[in-house]
């Protein structure tokens, strides 16, 4: 089903708060990579901006519109990556996003919402390693 069934209302409330004022939201003046992400069932549309130097993520941010799950996962993903090698994204999966959100068992219909940022950053990583 959608999220973990016994997910407490409070947990969801917490996510809604993060969704209303997400960290790392907004297009930065300085970035050297960007990529778009879509989740068509939700109608989520995001852009992700990374400043990468010597393989290290110096800054990460995003803008666009989406649901609680996609917005908060993008925000948390940005926080996670800043200061780390971009390559770390390679091995990350849905499970890692679920851990970041603090919820398990995201339903089939919402997987795309949770991984919209992950997929886009993986694309950037490919581009970076190809250069």
């Amino acid at each position: 089903m959608i999220y973990q069934r016994n997910m407490e209302d409070d947990k969801f409330y917490e996510l809604v708060e993060l969704y209303r004022n997400p960290e790392h939201y907004g297009k930065p003046s300085k970035y050297n990579y960007s990529e778009n992400g879509y989740s068509p069932s939700c109608g989520d549309k995001f852009s992700i901006y990374l400043e990468v130097e010597d393989g290290i993520v110096k800054d990460a941010s995003f803008d666009g519109k989406g649901c609680v799950i996609s917005t908060v996962s993008l925000s948390k993903l940005c926080s996670f990556l800043i200061g780390k090698p971009l390559k770390e994204i390679e091995n990350m999966q849905l499970k890692d996003i679920e851990d970041m959100l603090g919820i398990g068992d995201i339903s089939i219909s919402r997987v795309k919402c949770a991984t919209v940022g992950l997929d886009a950053i993986k694309k950037i990583n490919k581009e970076v390693s190809n250069n």
Binding site: I2, D9, Y13, S41, C42, G43, G66, C67, V68, I69
Partner: protein
Amino acid sequence: MNDMDIEKIRKDFPILSKKINGNPLIYLDNAATSQRPSIVIDGIKYFYENINANPIRSIHSLAEEATKAYNEAREKVAKFINADPEEIVFVRNATEAINLVSFSFPFKSGDRISTTYMEHHSNLLPWLRLKEKGINVDIVSISDDYELDMDYYKHLPKNTRLVAVTHASNVTGTINDAKEITRISHEQGSLVLIDAAQSIPHMPFDVKDIDADFIAFSGHKMLAPFGIGVLYIKKDIAENLKPFLTGGEMIKDVSLSKVIYENAPNLFEAGTQNVEGAYGLGLAIDYLNEIGMRNIEKYENELTKYLYERAKELKNVEVYSGKSKRFSGIFSFNVSGLHSHDTAYLLDKKGIAVRSGFHCAQPLIEERLKLDGAARASLYFYNTKGEIDAFINELNDISEKYGRR
């Protein structure tokens, strides 16, 4: 049946007694697909246990029975909308019906088609694709009350060959005056296609009265199995259409140098058809007839009125439907500051099934209404006022807790 005995009707739909997340299912996603009564579910089993064979071509007794069942289904559909059986083409769904017309209609470069801002993608994308062939597509605008710009239809641009329009919107609920649009379009020499996917399941429908040339609808929104739909093509018009798919069962005579095609409707039914689906659609129509489409319309109007009345209590909820002169049992909304998917998730926890997102009408939702999605509750005749109460109460709680004031 005169008055509708809803409790009795609900017993005909086994799924309505299902529990979802520990709560009784309140199914308010009927515009996406309806639920199915036992008569249809059991009928499919009966079909395979008693009638199954490849109809039309084989001549043994069983095939004869299958052919008879298939033809009877066509007759039932025809009668249901006051058409002749030869005017009924079985397809998979409304989407395929409209695509068929977009392929088979003899459009020429420079021709115009009109469709509208309130269409489902299925009555939009088949036409937009024709732009590649030099055909112009006009998009009729809608007012802030979700009414079509009727002035547009009064002065169709030159070379308009086809006016495509939905009878009932799956987002705003608007019921358009299909008869008047058809009348004035005909006066100006254009043919008319009506997307009746959201109307035929809910109201009496008479093709001779509306007089449109093409009418598309889906069985699964009116109690029938998935994968069976209908394209009505007015007699005389069919002759001018090109075949859609080619292959078996749509020909009279074939040699490698010359093919003589069947007449409509068989011309448009290439290959082995969804016979079980057609049979199931026939049973669904029997069931609808027994309740009576007039009763269904009346009861749904009552429910709709009740829903909109109760919705006035809601705070922090924006509504995007029900402003037009006529509208169906569709209630599109958002809790302020909450994405529609998250609203749907919260309702689902209480067993309430609503749709969320773009509803396959992205230009309407995104460009016209400037939204990133909407939640939608949509009614059918087995819903009750009690269910509406539960929905409104829950929505009230959600909007109080999460809605941004």
